[in-house]
């Protein structure tokens, strides 16, 4: 029985290896259309962010007071703001800020959570108890409140915003990873590794971490969207990145509020960009979760 399972697995793996990538892509689109849509939008934003300096028609920080509050048109597709700056260019460069903060905060937060979660499960006992109570304290605060507290201590600026967003992510990821790692810890090969005399770090990094990658990746993808939203929220509140840096949340404050009635495009386009990016990352994250979760995959 066991042998036949291995054989079936090998056949499937062989089949997957042989399928050309367009087939795989079409298969993914057919099976997970929403996830694929999310992935396409994510890729679209990544490309925009990467090639912002090529794509953006204007300097995103250059004031042009003779063009203040221009409505969307041929010259400025998304219009201009109160400083006469081209909104489309600011949105394009804003993608860079959003994705940079999103990816860095999500990656660092999830990875630190992974290490702490696995270590907590592996060592157990007093270490686990103390660490989890500390996590409880952090998790007692909503993400945005915790981020606000951190940025209030550290001050504004892109580095501090990343730190402020990263810190609340750590306990959330650690808690999820720990629960998976607890079951991994009980599997005999961990005992075997101990019996072989391997050190703690080798057991954690070589034998436990690879087996909790699924929840880690799911958390990672989910965090990117949340980080983008948090960065936008902090910037909107004036605690995130500062003018003249193009950032979507920042574009929603100040003039966007003041001119909401007479120049609504100042608020609409950054709002749409945030919505679309967060929506796309959530769809993509859901698809990753479905793909990596054995229970959902079997369904």
């Amino acid at each position: 029985m066991t042998v036949s399972q291995i054989e079936v697995g090998a056949e499937v793996e062989d089949l997957v290896q042989r399928a050309p990538w367009p087939v795989l892509l079409m298969d993914m689109i057919r099976r997970k259309p929403l996830g694929a849509a999310g992935a396409f939008i994510v890729v679209f934003f990544i490309l925009i962010a990467a090639f912002a300096n090529v794509i953006a028609p204007y300097d995103p920080t250059a004031n042009a007071f003779d063009r203040m509050h221009m409505a969307p048109g041929a010259e400025h597709w998304f219009g201009t703001d109160q400083f006469g700056r081209d909104l489309m260019s600011r949105l394009i460069y804003g993608a860079r800020t959003a994705l940079f903060v999103g990816f860095v905060a999500a990656f660092v937060g999830s990875t630190l959570g992974l290490v702490l979660g696995v270590a907590s499960a592996y060592f157990g006992g007093l270490f686990d108890l103390v660490l989890q109570r500390i996590m409880d304290v952090f998790m007692a605060f909503p993400l945005i409140i915790m981020a606000l507290a951190v940025v209030a201590i550290l001050g504004s600026g892109i580095q501090n915003v990343i730190i402020a967003i990263t810190i609340p992510f750590i306990p959330h990821c650690a808690r999820v990873v720990r629960s998976s790692a607890l079951s991994v810890r009980e599997i005999p090969y961990i005992d075997a590794a101990r019996a072989c005399g391997f050190g703690h770090s080798r057991i954690i990094l070589r034998h436990m971490v690879p087996n909790v990658m699924a929840p880690y990746l799911i958390m990672l993808t989910a965090f990117v969207g949340q980080a983008i939203l948090l960065e936008a929220s902090l910037s909107y509140l004036g605690l995130g990145v500062q003018e003249p840096t193009p950032a979507w949340g920042l574009m929603l404050q100040g003039g966007a509020e003041e001119y909401a009635e007479s120049a609504p495009w100042i608020a609409i386009f950054p709002g749409l960009a945030i919505t679309l990016a967060v929506f796309a990352f959530n769809l993509f994250g859901d698809a990753v979760r479905d793909a990596l979760d054995p229970k959902l995959r079997s369904q």
């Binding site: 920080t61 250059a62 004031n63 007071f65 203040m68 109160q82 400083f83 001050g155 504004s156 600026g157 004036g238 500062q242 003018e243 003249p244 840096t245 404050q253 100040g254 003039g255 509020e257 003041e258 001119y259 909401a260 009635e261 007479s262």
Partner: protein
């Protein structure tokens, strides 16, 4: 010199010509009978860094805290636009100067008490002005330079205070009428000189009720107030709302009746359009200017060439045209309040770096100076205050101006408390947005902002310039208006052109759209004046 010295000061001749208090709603208001009762709710854009009026320079202190305190004399609340109309608050009669204009004797009201029930005497007034004029080490006094002419303050008896001056000065009475000169209780100051930084206890029209950090400060009517029949209000709530849109919406939705600082033109138009006659608008020129101050303790800002280049890059004439549409700034000026006889004319301004009519030439010179100083690719951070109007808008504009000469500038924005801590204690900034907002229009003293840091309580550039100090002293001793003007030009030339200790951006313009039920409040050229609320009442 006579006792009416301040009235014969040059400012008197032009009091009517200042172009202030163009009040749409208030002008021509027929005297109405004030109604008693009600709680005035108003919005304040920032919280006070401390409660000590002697130390602070911000509206964030005056608007919520002034109603708790008395002052010795003040600008006439019924004529707050005048730079020469002063009346008694705690004193009984405006004094005549004696001893060839070098002695002023103030008789105090009897029976005045602090809110804790203790009697207010001449000793309290003396202790207050001792703290302002001669603060002990470690105690900040923002306006000590206003009182350079004062030799001694003493109490002749429990109800008589005497000021002895070193020399006759027309600047003394305006300095005394500064609304930040809250009268403190000597007992509290003796107990702890810093007591008033964290506590409130005055003798003003309202008694402190509560403070909810981040939310509001409230006060209730002082039943023992010494001005008969006042205050009219039962109380007030100063509600903190950092975002301008929130403050506008608060007024629009009736959650607040007024904001005493000022809104940009767009907000005025929106409120007027939405509420029609329910909104009254008062406007005035504003004795307030936004500056960019380089930290001369930090390289390369210790080099006058670099500072001059920064100033040369700024297109003030163009900025005035456009920024006045989106911000509460408008007028191009030098160190003195524009329109005042001591202020520079356009022709005089155009001789100063950064005011040249030829912008291209100006920026080419800026680049040349930077190259000469080895700072062509200079990167720095501009420290700014987390208040939209006009700080963040002007800060963003300045960054673009400096970008035009090849500089890469980032902005660090901080709430009011940390912003001041950076300027006063940490001093860890390259260039900071700074401001000079004064109460009574009195350029002779208002320019004390630009003298050496060891003499001025609010000069943050980290420099000492004896030449500037000498000019300041000479101006304040000069009796002849022509001589004063000549000295002011020399002072301005040194501060803005030769040494560029500070860069003036634009002077502010004050627009107050408020709910029409707010009565008894008149706009002035300063958002610090006339804020004790004792004469304010609600109609309906």
């Amino acid at each position: 010199m006579t006792g009416r010295l301040w009235k014969t000061a040059p400012r008197l001749a032009v009091a009517a010509g200042l172009g202030v208090a163009v009040a749409f709603g208030a002008a021509g208001a027929v005297a109405e009978t004030p109604k008693k009762g009600g709680v005035l709710k108003y919005v304040v854009p920032a919280e006070p860094p401390s409660f000590d009026g002697h130390r602070e320079t911000t509206f964030a202190l005056i608007h919520p805290i002034a109603p708790f305190y008395s002052v010795l004399i003040r600008v006439n609340p019924d004529n707050p636009g005048s730079p020469t109309d002063f009346v008694c608050d705690l004193c009984t009669e405006m004094p005549q100067a004696s001893d060839d204009g070098k002695k002023y004797t103030f008789a105090l009201r009897k029976g005045v008490t602090f809110h804790d029930g203790s009697a207010l005497t001449a000793q309290d007034v003396v202790a207050t002005f001792e703290k302002i004029i001669n603060p002990p080490e470690g105690v900040a006094s923002a306006r000590k330079a206003f009182f350079v002419m004062v030799e001694k303050v003493s109490a002749a008896d429990d109800h008589t205070v005497v000021f002895d001056l070193k020399y006759p000065s027309g600047a003394f009475i305006p300095a005394l009428a500064n609304p930040y000169n809250f009268i403190y209780a000597k007992a509290k100051l003796d107990q702890d000189i810093h007591w008033y930084e964290k506590n409130v206890m005055g003798s003003g029209p309202f008694v402190f009720k509560e403070r909810q950090p981040g939310a509001l400060i409230s006060g209730e009517r002082n039943a023992d107030y010494y001005h008969e029949g006042k205050p009219y209000l039962d109380g007030f709530e100063a509600i903190f709302a950092k975002k301008q849109s929130l403050r506008v919406q608060a007024i629009r939705g009736g959650r607040a009746a007024i904001e005493f600082r000022g809104f940009p033109p767009k907000s005025r138009d929106d409120l007027k359009k939405a509420l029609g006659d329910d909104i009254t608008v008062q406007e005035s020129d504003w004795n307030c200017v936004l500056l960019a101050t380089p930290n001369q303790k930090v390289k390369p800002f210790d080099d006058p060439r670099v500072r001059r280049a920064l100033s040369l890059a700024i297109d003030r004439w163009g900025g005035s045209k456009y920024l006045s549409e989106i911000a509460i700034v408008k007028t191009v000026g030098g160190v003195a309040f524009p329109g005042h006889p001591l202020a520079a004319t356009r022709e005089e301004l155009e001789q100063i770096a950064g005011y040249w009519p030829d912008l291209e030439k100006s920026r080419a010179e800026a680049k040349r100076l930077l190259a000469e100083a080895g700072a062509s690719n200079l990167k720095f951070t501009v420290n700014n205050r987390a208040v939209d109007q006009p700080y963040k808008i002007v800060g963003t504009w300045l960054i673009d101006q400096w970008k035009q000469i090849g500089l890469e500038v980032e902005q660090r924005v901080q709430p009011t408390g940390p912003f001041y801590a950076t300027l006063r204690q940490k001093k860890d900034f390259d260039v900071s947005i700074d401001f000079n907002c004064q109460a009574v229009v009195n350029p002779l003293l208002d320019v004390s902002k630009f003298i050496s840091g060891n003499r001025s309580g609010n000069s943050y550039g980290g420099y000492e310039d004896p030449e500037v100090d000498k000019m300041f002293d000479a101006m304040n001793r000069a009796a002849d208006p022509a001589e004063q003007r000549k000295l002011m030009r020399a002072f301005e030339q040194r501060v803005l052109n030769d040494q560029v200790h500070s860069m003036i951006t634009l002077w502010w313009y004050r627009i107050i759209p408020h709910r029409s039920e707010v009565k008894g409040w008149k706009i002035s050229p300063s958002h610090y004046l006339n804020q004790d609320l004792s004469g304010v009442w609600l109609d309906g």
